[in-house]
């Protein structure tokens, strides 16, 4: 019997269709609904939304229809409760990668990597994972406004168009956008509008890198980095393993060189020279922490060693130029480091690469590229060079330098209309820009949130989230991908493309249907520029359908470029190089691994995501070494005022090992004044100091008061306990089974007979060697399992709820040298689970597939299980942390996972909902579950594929193979709790000479 034949009725009157009863029944759903405030989402609107989403989901490969269907009409292709996946693209700054959007009944609930997209290969990073929460953020801007008045889009457009047509000087200030169609349409618009100009701006810009490349090679294109091809990697202030916009693919490629499966395997070697403590630095085989002002001298000295000792350059001018560089005296730590590094780089010619942070000075980047040209990073090399001479990644002149013309125009009062599209210039450029903007007669704002820039703009309209809109992106040469909507816009919003296209149409007097017009614009562009060059025989529609399904299209690559280093760039860099006195206090910024440049500040999950290195949540802090703190008489949590010039910023002191003396580091993205309740007032905005990223001669003043810093980890040493086991590659080759020698475990006996696990026996293997600590898994777990955020006050009390945490331990052998260990820690699903035995109400028991299960409904909350858990992975709902779910956040919850209420214990379930789903799917096929078919959320997100889940009873499964590797061990194995999670010990690859020095 078909579903639609069933008619549900509540009373006989209703069945008889008595009009009065029907009216009464309807009144139940009736509410004032002017569409202005989504906060009071009525049930009716909710149903509409659901219907709309379903309608959209069915047609998402075609044009989304504007019709709203009630859900009682079963939409075709949608099976309630069955997830559907749509390929789309997550774009951030200049970079983007392919994602799959998991939707259930038309609601996007999870972002996963698109396995077909070469830049994600099935993984998704922190920000992409969290973007689904951003979609449902109740603080998003909901309606177009003029001043304080809510208006309709038509009114708004009308006003704006008349304004634009009257304006004499129009300036577009946008965030970076790698979308080709966006650029194409914007250019069309610029042509139509009189005297208009476009400035992209990002605080995290590619400007300096482009300039450096222009100087070094005469071309600003940034070649693609292939870390998988590198044996020796030097990172200079670059956090390519975490907070860079394109870190996902770099983590993946770097981790490929860190996999050890037998004692014959080799490892890449990572040297890090940096002035802050990055996640990349935490994964280094050798890390040297120096002051920001000294980086250039180190780089030059390295170049000098490479030229003088290893004769990598035949150009005599190089030698004479570099001979002027003062070098460190022999036998110092710094000199040894550089010598070993140079030796490695020279020996691995063509298989090495130097990565310089894109925010570094042009001189440093030039020297970095000089070294790259010396060590053959640009190839040619069989199998591909570490820096791709063919493929350039998207980059823009989007920094502060490029903005200067606009700023002077603004100062001169030349601009009468300023359109800020995305980004948040008032927050990022500070009070000066705010004052300038206030002087502009017409300010038009398009943004996701009502942020700082919106506050000073007269005309403001909400942008659609990328999950609600069409778009495309070209992150690098030869690769273009599509963004498709997976839900009808939740609010009265439009995407930037829709806004532009409706202006264009309306200005030419045509009627406009923004969504459709924008889609046809994209299609038109694709037909002309991508389809035409593809030489496919099928029709454009077939091509388009295919592109939508795959999410990505490859294009023919440009010809190989020659990278000939321009010696004058080196002489310029050296002439600009002055050995600065090293006794001043210096400040170094980094992008926040959680909030990037502040655009994600309203994401609770991200605010609560511990920094991979400091483990600080809900704050940016002034990190400094204990020595520096002592020098200035500071203690952890003291407030300090830092000034670099006119402005000052107040930050709390955070003691961080592994930083050079007189260096303070902090992250950008905090101290938002508007743009959502969550992000407002968290941390301090360091942009008030300027845009320089590095400041010398910083004045430090102790400020009264104490700041509470919420960290998820308060103790940083392993106390000599065998928790994260590690060895050097050399040691491992000698003793492949070294973990067995590190933990002396007597034969573990039991009084009782073991339970037989005859069917599946789920287990996990975690490779500590490839885990970089990027925390993508933590956010994936948060989203998949509806894990609540608890807020700073609760984190301070130690009540964070993350089921999966990344433990980070330091080992210090000397003041400067800090080794870092990352360890993902989650429920170990012990066979002899200590938590189960002590639960008085049998709320946590073992399944016959070896999973430690938690029955929330049965839990009374004694917390005994958490006390008795040696791994402390159980999380207790001290309050009803879900009480503040605000419409439309509930739409984003995973319907397969219970929302836990107050007073119950929760913990990792190995994504039991995914296991059931996988088993059901296999059962429907009539087969056994195949290996890799069921992936936990953390495993799926992990870019380095450090987490492998599967059936331990299947000897051919990957997890079984990994678990039986000689470097595998189980944490606290000696307790005889028999965990189901095997860790593969960390194996470092130090330079033999440097390692000796340490020991």
């Amino acid at each position: 019997m078909e579903e639609k034949d069933k008619i549900y009725w509540k009373s006989f009157e209703e069945l008889a269709k008595d009009p009065r009863t029907l009216e009464l029944a309807q009144r139940e759903f009736m509410q004032e609904d002017d569409g202005s405030d989504f906060l009071s989402l009525s049930r009716r609107k909710f149903l509409k939304l659901l219907g709309a989403s379903v309608a959209l989901a069915t047609t998402s490969c075609r044009r989304p229809v504007a019709k709203i269907l009630p859900y009682v009409k079963q939409a075709e292709n949608v099976k309630p409760g069955i997830a559907q996946y749509y390929a789309s693209t997550f774009a951030l700054n200049h970079h983007s990668y392919g994602i799959l959007v998991k939707t259930i009944e038309g609601r996007p609930i999870k972002i996963e990597g698109n396995p077909d997209h070469p830049l994600s290969q099935g993984s998704a990073g922190t920000w992409a994972q969290a973007s689904v929460l951003e979609l449902y953020d109740p603080d998003r801007k909901r309606n177009p406004t003029i001043g304080d008045h809510v208006v309709s889009w038509d009114e708004w457009d009308k006003e704006i168009i008349s304004l634009l047509q009257k304006s004499k000087n129009i300036r577009f200030l946008t965030e970076s956008n790698s979308s080709p169609t966006f650029k194409y349409t914007l250019k069309k618009l610029l042509k139509v509008l009189p005297n208009s100009h476009w400035n992209p701006y990002e605080p995290v810009s590619q400007e300096r890198a482009r300039l450096a490349f222009k100087k070094a090679f005469g071309r600003p294109d940034l070649p693609k980095l292939h870390l998988d091809k590198a044996k020796i990697i030097l990172s200079i202030n670059s956090d390519f393993l975490c907070s860079d916009a394109d870190s996902l693919i770099h983590i993946k490629n770097w981790a490929k060189g860190r996999k050890i499966r037998s004692s014959k395997d080799t490892l890449n070697r990572l040297y890090v020279l940096e002035s802050f403590f990055s996640t990349t630095g935490s994964n280094a085989d050798h890390r040297l922490s120096v002051k920001p002002s000294q980086l250039l001298s180190f780089a030059l000295e390295l170049a000098q060693i490479l030229v003088t000792r290893f004769h990598l350059s035949t150009d005599p001018s190089h030698l004479s130029l570099l001979n002027t560089i003062p070098d460190h005296s022999e036998k110092t730590v710094e000199r040894e480091f550089l010598l070993a590094l140079a030796e490695d780089l020279a020996q691995h010619h063509g298989q090495s690469v130097v990565v310089v942070g894109q925010q570094e000075s042009v001189e440093l980047q030039v020297v970095g590229q000089f070294i790259n040209s010396l060590i053959g990073s640009f190839g040619p090399r069989v199998g591909g060079s570490t820096l791709d001479s063919k493929v350039s990644v998207a980059s823009f002149d989007n920094g502060h330098e490029s903005l200067k013309p606009l700023l002077s125009e603004l100062k001169a009062g030349k601009v009468d209309t300023l359109i800020t599209l995305g980004g948040n210039p008032v927050y990022q450029l500070g009070a000066e820009f705010e004052a300038l903007m206030k002087k502009v007669p017409n300010t038009i704002r398009l943004s996701l949130y009502s942020d700082e820039t919106t506050a000073v703009s007269k005309y403001a309209a909400p942008l659609s989230h990328f999950l609600e809109s069409w778009g495309d992106s070209r992150p690098e040469d030869g690769l273009v991908s599509l963004i498709q909507p997976t839900i009808q816009p939740l609010h009265n919003s439009r995407s930037s493309g829709e806004v532009m296209i409706s202006w264009l149409y309306k200005m030419s007097g045509k009627a406009s249907h923004p969504t459709e017009d924008w889609l046809s614009e994209i299609k038109l562009y694709w037909k002309k520029n991508i389809y035409a060059k593809k030489n496919t025989f099928g029709s454009f529609e077939t091509f388009w359908e295919g592109a939508l399904q795959d999410g990505v299209v490859t294009e023919t690559l440009p010809l190989s470029k020659a990278f000939h280093f321009n010696s004058s760039a080196l002489s310029e860099a050296i002439s600009n190089f002055k050995k600065t006195p090293s006794d001043t206090l210096e400040l170094q910024w980094t992008p926040s691994p959680a909030l990037f440049d502040g655009r994600f500040a309203n994401g609770g999950s991200l605010q609560e995501l511990p920094d991979p290195v400091t483990k600080v949540t809900w704050d940016n802090v002034a990190s400094m070494s204990a020595k520096t703190a002592l020098k200035y008489g500071l203690k952890q949590g003291n407030k300090i005022k830092l000034s670099g010039g006119a402005s000052t910023v107040t930050l709390p002191v955070f003691l961080q090992p592994g930083l050079a003396e007189d260096v303070i580091t902090t992250s950008i993205g905090y101290g938002r004044r508007a743009g959502g309740e969550i992000g407002m007032g968290v941390g301090s905005n360091v942009f008030v100091l300027g845009q320089a990223w590095q400041y010398k001669n910083v004045q430090l003043k102790k400020h009264s008061g104490q700041h509470k810093i919420a960290t998820t980890q308060t103790h940083h040493s392993m106390e000599g306990r065998p928790i994260v086991l590690e060895a050097t590659l050399e040691e491992y080759k000698k003793h492949p089974d070294f973990p067995k020698h590190k933990i002396h475990t007597p034969e573990l006996l039991s009084l009782y007979q073991d339970y037989p696990y005859t069917g599946h026996k789920w287990g996990m293997a975690i490779d500590l060697n490839s885990c970089v600590g990027c925390s993508g898994c933590v956010v994936a777990c948060d989203v998949e399992n509806n894990i609540p955020n608890v807020g700073k006050a609760q984190v301070l009390k130690g009540r964070e709820m993350q089921w999966l945490r990344l433990d980070r331990y330091y080992e210090t052998s000397s003041e400067n040298e800090v080794k870092t260990l990352h360890q993902p820690m989650l429920c170990q699903h012990c066979d002899n689970a200590p938590c189960e035995t002590v639960c008085p109400v049998s709320a946590t028991v073992h399944s016959d597939e070896g999973i430690n299960q938690m029955t929330y409904n049965r839990c009374v909350g004694t917390r005994y299980c958490a006390n008795n858990c040696p791994y402390k992975v159980r999380r207790f709902n001290y309050f009803n942390f879900n009480a503040d779910i605000e419409t439309p956040q509930e739409l984003g919850k995973n319907p397969s996972v219970t929302i836990r209420s107050r007073g119950v214990m929760e913990k990792c379930t190995f994504c039991i909902q995914r296991i059931s789903e996988g088993k059901n799917a296999a059962k429907m096929r009539g087969e056994k579950v195949s290996d890799g078919e069921i992936q936990t959320a953390c495993q799926q997100a992990c870019p380095s594929q450090a987490i492998v889940f599967g059936d331990l009873n299947d000897p051919n499964s990957e997890v079984s193979k990994l678990s039986s590797l000689s470097q595998g061990y189980r944490v606290l194995e000696e307790l005889n709790v028999r965990p189901a999670v095997t860790y593969l010990a960390k194996i470092r690859n130090p330079h033999p000479r440097l390692e000796k020095r340490v020991s």
Binding site: S750, Y752, N832, C835, E836, S842, V845, H846
Partner: protein, 126 residues
């Protein structure tokens, strides 16, 4: 139970009381009682009151309680609904001892009290 008259006497010292009680008992009078503000040593021997059966009663109930406790634990953990809890066997005897013991004590205490209850003196349990 046919005589209708009784006799009461008051004694000022325990020695006299005990002597009198012994005498009365020797005279073959069965239905007599002695009322004292506290139990006086030697009085029950003098009156030749038989030993109470309470200890046996308590013992039986105590064992019954312990048995019931153990059986209940077995029934719930093994017979009615088995669960793998921490890899322990369904019948985890060492873990079941405390409850068994407490059940025994509880039953024993109830039995002793019930049996002492003066209200229930007339009930044939005595």
């Amino acid at each position: 139970m046919t005589f209708k008259k009784g006799l009461a006497a008051n004694f000022t010292s325990p020695q006299e009381l005990v002597r009198a009680a012994r005498q009365v008992h020797k005279l073959g009078i069965k239905h007599f009682d002695v009322f004292t503000p506290y139990p006086i040593h030697g009085l029950d021997e003098a009156m030749e009151i038989k030993n109470s059966h309470i200890p046996w009663f308590s013992l039986v109930f105590g064992l019954l309680g312990a048995g019931a406790g153990l059986y209940f634990q077995w029934w719930t953990s093994v017979a009615d609904w088995t669960l793998n809890i921490g890899g322990k066997p369904h019948f985890s005897l060492p873990a079941f001892i405390p409850v068994t013991f407490e059940c025994g004590i509880l039953f024993c205490a109830f039995a002793s009290f019930q049996n002492t209850n003066p209200f229930l003196k007339k009930i044939p349990m005595r």
